[in-house]
Amino acid sequence: MLIFSVFKTLTDQTVIVELKNDLLITGVLKSVDQFLNIRLDNIQISDEVRHPHMIAVKNCFIRGSVVRYVQIPADAVDTQLLEDATRRGSRFCYKRCPKFPD
């Protein structure tokens, strides 16, 4: 949930999404869901000469499972806040991921 909330604070920011087929797509993050599926507007494929396949596409939906990285603007993120939320969240994670039976 934590990472999902981070992405929600990044809507309308410009991000670069790198897919597991090595496509790099730059665009404005319009929405994200719990599976981290992403909707981008005004997209721009890097190296459009090599990848002309999507010249006619302006807005797109990207499935979360095929994403490798998302490069986000550094100034859009408060790292201290992230760390505190993660530390608090990690107690939540104890409940979520199954314990090894001791």
Binding site: I3, L36, Y69, V70, I72, A74, V77, T86, G89
Partner: protein, 97 residues
């Protein structure tokens, strides 16, 4: 400092103790990252800053089998990065000794 005294009951404790530290991440696809860890979740999705990515690329040499191809490393720097957890193999905090 031996980790068991540092209160490692769960593997994720190792990651929690690495928050705001520079960590090494090994990813599928012969990729490695080093960067400062700011957030993670149960899927090992990560948010890191000041990241350097190293990709090991094996260029096939004529006649030589794939394993003997010439290896070179492609490096890339990224300021703030989300890494999807399903690609993560290993995370190593800075050595504590």
């Amino acid at each position: 400092m031996d980790t068991s005294s540092a209160g490692i009951q769960e593997p994720f404790d190792l990651i929690r103790l690495s928050l705001n530290e520079r960590v090494f991440v090994k990813l599928r696809g012969d990729r490695e990252l080093t960067g400062v860890l700011h957030a993670y979740d149960g899927h090992m999705n990560l948010i890191m800053s000041a990241v350097e990515e190293t990709i090991m690329v094996v260029e096939p040499v004529e006649g030589a089998p794939h394993s003997q191809g010439s290896v070179n490393y492609v490096k890339r720097k990224m300021e703030m990065l989300f890494v999807r957890g399903d690609g993560v193999i290993l995370v190593s905090p800075p050595s504590r000794t």
